[in-house]
C-alpha cells in the first residue's frame, strides 16, 4: 500500500454515499459520518427512455 493510500485510511473518513442508502448505513453503523446523496440512473436505467430524455433536454 502506498503512503498516500495509507494516509487516507489513517485519517478520519469523510464519506459521500451516492445512490443506494444501504452502503452508507453500514458505515454509519460503524460510527462513520456519511452524507447521503439521493441519486438513481436517469429513467431508472431504462436505455430507451434515457435516450429519449437526452434528446428532450435531459
Amino acid at each position: 500500500m502506498s503512503n498516500a493510500t495509507q494516509k487516507l485510511f489513517d485519517s478520519g473518513l469523510k464519506v459521500i454515499n451516492i445512490g443506494l442508502d444501504h452502503f452508507g448505513e453500514k458505515l454509519r453503523d460503524q460510527g462513520v459520518e456519511v452524507e447521503q446523496v439521493e441519486w438513481r440512473p436517469p429513467a431508472g436505467g431504462d436505455r430507451e427512455l434515457a435516450a429519449i430524455l437526452e434528446q428532450t433536454g435531459y
Binding site: P42, A51, Q55
Partner: protein
C-alpha cells in the same frame, strides 16, 4: 434536431405555465350536465378516471354507477342497471374526456347538477358535481340508499336552482383564486382539507343568499345544509382546477400533465402534447389512515376519482407544507409535509407565486408536472385522497404515488409523435 426540439418543448411548457399561473378560475353557474355538455344522451353515465369496460369495474364503481342509473330513472333497481350497463344499453364515459372531473366516485348523468367554473384568462371551462356532505351515506363514497336518493333529488330541485340564481346576482361569478391564496396560510392543502376555503367561500355566498328572492324556508334549508358541509369548496375547486388545466390541452410539444384520475381499475394521465390520449397503469391504492381500527388494507379499493386534478394545479400533495394537519392525520409528520412539497418541486417546472406558504419561507407551491423530469428522476406525483371501502362507503384517507408507467408510456408516445429515435 435535439436543440430545436428542446427549444420547442421549453417554449410550449413556458406557455402552459403562463396559462396556469395567471389563471383566474371563477365559479359561474350550476346547471344540469345536459346544458353544459352538448348532445348528452339520456342513457350515458360519466365516471371517474379513464374509460373502462364494465367487466373491469370494481364494486365501489358499480355501486356508484348503478345508483346514478336508478336515480336518473334509467333502471328500476341497481341489479337491473348493472345488466343494462353490461349489455351496453347504458353507456359509460369519462368525465375528464367531457371536460370535467369527478369528485371521488360521483357519477354524472344528463340531469346531474354540475358546478361550472371558467378560467377567465383562457376562456376554458370545467365542471364537477356538488360535494355531497359529511354524511357517510354519499354516492361519492359508493353508497346508494334512501338518504342518498333524497339528497340527490334535493340538489336537483332546490340547491342547484338556488345557487344558480345566487351566482347570477354576482358580476361574473365568484373568483376562487383569492380564496386559494388566503387558505394557503390557514392550514388547508386544499385537497383533503378545505376548512378555511369553505368558510371563505361561504363568506361571499351568505350575503348573496340573504338577498335572494326565494321563500324564507328554502333559504333556511340551503344555509343550514351548506353550513353542515365543511368540504363544500372541494368540488367547486375541482371544477376550477379543471377549467384551468383544460387550458394546457393541445399545446404541441408540451410535456406537462393536465389531467389525471383513477377508475378503481386503471389510473390514467393526460398531457398537453397528446390531448386525446390516456396513458394508464394499474390503479394504485392510497395508504394512510383507515376509519375503523378493526379494518385492514384489504378492504380498501384502488384510487377512484379525478380530484387529483388539484395536484396538477399545485395544491393537495404539492401544497402539503401548507396543510400539515392532513399529513399528521394520515400517518405522517411535519417533516413529511415539507418533504412532499419539495419532492414535487423536483418534478415541476413552475411555481404558483400567488399562493405563498409561510412555513417554507413564503414560497409558492410547485406546479406543472413535467413528464421528462418524472421519468428522469423516478419521482412521481403524490396525490392525496380517500379510499373506498370495497363494500361501499369510505374506508379511509391518505395518499398515493402516481404509477411511473403512466409517464414512461407518455414519453415513448412523445418520442413517436415527434420522430425521436431512441438509441
Amino acid at each position: 434536431m435535439g436543440a430545436e426540439l428542446q427549444e420547442r418543448i421549453e417554449r410550449a411548457n413556458a406557455e402552459a405555465i403562463d396559462r396556469i399561473v395567471n389563471a383566474q378560475p371563477t365559479w359561474v353557474d350550476v346547471v344540469p350536465a345536459r346544458e353544459t355538455i352538448p348532445d348528452f344522451p339520456d342513457n350515458l353515465i360519466l365516471h371517474a378516471g379513464p374509460p373502462i369496460e364494465p367487466r373491469n369495474a370494481g364494486n365501489p364503481l358499480r355501486i356508484a354507477l348503478t345508483g346514478a342509473a336508478v336515480h336518473a330513472g334509467m333502471a328500476g333497481t341497481q341489479e337491473q342497471a348493472w345488466k343494462m350497463i353490461e349489455a351496453g344499453e347504458i353507456a359509460l364515459g369519462s368525465q375528464i374526456d367531457h371536460g370535467g372531473a369527478s369528485g371521488a366516485a360521483n357519477p354524472v348523468t344528463a340531469q346531474t347538477p354540475v358546478q361550472i367554473c371558467v378560467n377567465e384568462a383562457t376562456g376554458t371551462r370545467g365542471f364537477c358535481t356538488f360535494q355531497e356532505s359529511p354524511s357517510p351515506n354519499v354516492l361519492r363514497w359508493a353508497v346508494y340508499n334512501d338518504e342518498v336518493e333524497q339528497r340527490l333529488t334535493w340538489f336537483e330541485q332546490t340547491l342547484a336552482p338556488v345557487l344558480s340564481q345566487m351566482l347570477k346576482q354576482t358580476e361574473g361569478g365568484i373568483g376562487i383564486r383569492n380564496i386559494l391564496a388566503k387558505a394557503q396560510s390557514m392550514g388547508d392543502e386544499n385537497h383533503s382539507r378545505q376548512v378555511a376555503s369553505t368558510a371563505l367561500l361561504f363568506e361571499q355566498m351568505m350575503p348573496l343568499l340573504m338577498d335572494l328572492d326565494i321563500p324564507h324556508a328554502t333559504r333556511g334549508e340551503v344555509v343550514k345544509w351548506l353550513c353542515s358541509a365543511e368540504r363544500f369548496f372541494l368540488h367547486v375547486f375541482i371544477a376550477g382546477a379543471s377549467a384551468v388545466m383544460q387550458g394546457v390541452k393541445g399545446i404541441e410539444h408540451c410535456t406537462l400533465m393536465f389531467a389525471q384520475g383513477g377508475n378503481g381499475y386503471e389510473f390514467g394521465t393526460k398531457f398537453g402534447f397528446a390531448t386525446d390520449r390516456w396513458f394508464t397503469a394499474p390503479c394504485p391504492v392510497c395508504t394512510g389512515m383507515l376509519l375503523n381500527p378493526t379494518w385492514s388494507m384489504d378492504i380498501a379499493g384502488a384510487y377512484l376519482g379525478d380530484s387529483c386534478v388539484v395536484e396538477t394545479f399545485g395544491f393537495g400533495g404539492n401544497s402539503s407544507a401548507a396543510g400539515p394537519m392532513v399529513i399528521r392525520l394520515t400517518g405522517g409528520d411535519l417533516q413529511e409535509a415539507m418533504r412532499r412539497t419539495e419532492r414535487a418541486r423536483e418534478i415541476c417546472v413552475g411555481t404558483l407565486d400567488w399562493a405563498l406558504i409561510p412555513a417554507i419561507g413564503f414560497q409558492g407551491p410547485p406546479v406543472g408536472f413535467d413528464l421528462r423530469k418524472i421519468v428522469a428522476t423516478g419521482i412521481t406525483p403524490v396525490c392525496h385522497g380517500g379510499m373506498h371501502h370495497l363494500d361501499g362507503g369510505q374506508a379511509g384517507a391518505g395518499s398515493m404515488n402516481v404509477p411511473f408507467e403512466c409517464f414512461a408510456e407518455a414519453l415513448r408516445a412523445f418520442a413517436s409523435r415527434y420522430g425521436i429515435e431512441a438509441g
